[in-house]
Amino acid sequence: MAIVIEQPDAPRSRKGAQWEKRAWIFMRISGVILIFLIIGHLLVNLVLPERGVKAIDFAFVAGKWASPFWQVYDGLILWLALIHGTNGMRTLVNDYSEREWLRKALNVTLWVTAAALLLLGTLVITTFDPCIDPNVHNYLPDLVCKG
């Protein structure tokens, strides 16, 4: 199968060029923000706590998400990292897939996966209910649970 390489200076649709430029800019802006967010995430979850990763359990998450700060923080990582990662994967798919139908199918799969996980992750953060743990008052004594 012959591989056709586009003429780099061939005119492209204004809309397509705009989209690619915005994606390129997004990668850079989100990349800088993610460095700070993820180093903070690793420090707070793996490095600073006495027992590190071994301290992570339902109570640990409930303690963090009792504060809107960590809900917004984790929500930001979710959105920025997943879109950044999906767009990066799109770049690889566009570079390496030789069959047009496969390229399209992989890209559709990437964005459907991203949309599903963004929805799931956002719902998990915003509707999280620590009261599903009967022992919640051992670690969140001030929490008021209904029923």
Binding site: R28, G31, L46, T86, V124
Partner: protein, 125 residues
């Protein structure tokens, strides 16, 4: 004496191999992110479901693998800054080699802090 070409920015030598490594670490982090969103979503199911799955992160093997994950993240992040400096800084392309060594030094320093701490958490009493 024949002049040995130093390689262009992304074709040959260090520039190309950091580009390859940037892609490989990116793919690895992407797939971890998918898994990590799904495992965290279990807090919406039950404390038992979440705790039992997160327990696998605390095993010896996964605990050591987390060092690889953190190493990949730190390389991808700081090499990303290098890529941006190549894009936006007037002398970025000229100093892309030197900037790789700066990335490596930052990476070694941060890993020197993380690795012993993680090993203590995983294998310590």
């Amino acid at each position: 004496m024949a002049h040995r070409p130093a390689g262009t920015l992304y074709r040959g030598k260090l520039g190309m191999w950091t580009w390859v490594l940037h892609r490989i670490t990116g793919v690895g982090i992407y797939f971890f992110l998918l898994v990590h969103i799904l495992d965290t979503a279990l807090v919406r199911v039950s404390p038992e479901a979440y705790n039992s799955v997160v327990a696998s992160y605390k095993t010896d093997i996964v605990g050591v693998a987390e060092i690889g994950l953190v190493g990949a993240i730190l390389f991808h992040g700081f090499n990303g800054i290098r890529v941006m400096l190549i894009d936006f800084w007037r002398k970025g392309a000229k100093y892309q080699h030197q900037m790789f060594w700066v990335v490596l030094v930052i990476w070694v320093i941060l890993m020197a802090g993380f690795v012993p701490r993680q090993l203590m958490h995983i294998f310590g009493a």
